[in-house]
Symmetry: C2
Subunit: 183 residues, 2 copies
DNA sequence: ATAGAATCGGGGCGATCGTTCCGTTTAGCA
DNA sequence: TGCTAAACGGAACGATCGCCCCGATTCTAT
């Protein structure tokens, strides 16, 4: 995946930039100046642009990684309780969005269009949601007429609530759950 | 409210700027350049700054007006069915947010902090929500443990869904309603 | 150890945007 | 109609940001 045969200092700097950019995007969102990331990483802006041709490509690399983490985390958890898997996923994602503005923006389509720029990550994510939803419906915790697009919509709403309203959003989780339950 | 004794051309320009800014903020959000509004209004940027000392003050004037409209619209509708008033309000606001980025941002706290910059509008709005909520609870369509802050949180979530997911968000309205209903 | 290539850092360019300034125009009154 | 002050518009300023360039530095193969 990473280009082979990077010089030792280049590899070190690339890793450092990724790590710092990760934290910085999470804190500040896609609006952060590249210079700010360069400063925090202790490198020049030129160094960042040698590894990532544009700011957007750096942003994408990080979002892809973040999505992979969420998918993995969910796969580990979801095996246990089919009925709760989808809810655990939704609320976990809402929490993530609260401390990771970059992730929230990615879902809302700010800065990146996941479907076109990161098709594999997008597909993996969709498959995950499809599976969780089907299992929850089979277990009887979610109405039959909910589809994957509804789940996607819910994610956007939940992340917005969590981001802009903080922990007050937690109070709505049980109501969301009740709203999805079969009547 | 408006300063008295404006020269005729000044008054005409002020009104034109307000109208154009209203439309432009709705379409493009708080990010629009002032020059763009000036261009659309057929005036110079200087003219705008003579009437509104900063971009933010122009933005606030418009948000205040928008809030007043929503409050008025809701008051007209709400008298009829106490049980449905809150839901009509919520979904109306979601629709408004879909075509008015400025309003969405105002609720989410982007660009303005309503509570500190427009305290009277904020209070009027809060009173409206309090009344709608109490009436719905009395009518038995909303759980007793829902408070005004929860409603505010819901608004943020609903507007985000509507904005970023378009009409797909409509499918979730019935589920939101069900989620708020007493168990 | 050293040459040569890969990499580095940060100043600089061009674009954008909020805001100000000022020479010009125009409304309103006598 | 002529005078004055208010209002106009748009060029210009300063700050910000994405991205590029290039002289200086550091790595690595020999």
């Amino acid at each position: 995946m990473t280009d082979k045969r990077l010089r030792a200092d280049a590899a070190r700097n690339r890793a450092r930039v990724l790590r710092v950019a990760y934290e910085t995007f999470a804190e500040e969102g896609a609006g952060v100046p590249i210079d700010e990331i360069a400063r925090r990483a202790g490198v020049g802006a030129g160094t960042i642009y040698r590894h990532f041709p544009t700011k957007e490509s750096l942003f994408q690399a990080i979002v892809a990684d973040r999505l992979r983490q969420v998918v993995e985390h969910t796969r580990e958890q979801a095996a246990a309780d089919p009925g709760e898997g989808l809810f655990a996923f939704l609320f976990h994602l809402a929490e993530q969005g609260a401390t990771d503005l970059g992730l929230t923006e990615a879902f809302a389509g700010v800065g990146v269009d996941l479907a076109t720029s990161l098709p594999e990550a997008e597909r993996e994510f969709t498959d995950l949601m499809t599976g969780l939803l089907a299992r929850a419906q089979r277990a009887g915790t979610v109405r039959r007429d909910v589809d994957v697009d509804d789940v996607r919509t819910l994610i956007v709403g939940l992340q917005a609530m969590r981001r802009f309203r903080g922990e007050r959003a937690d109070r709505l989780y049980p109501m969301i759950r009740a709203g999805l339950a079969p009547r």
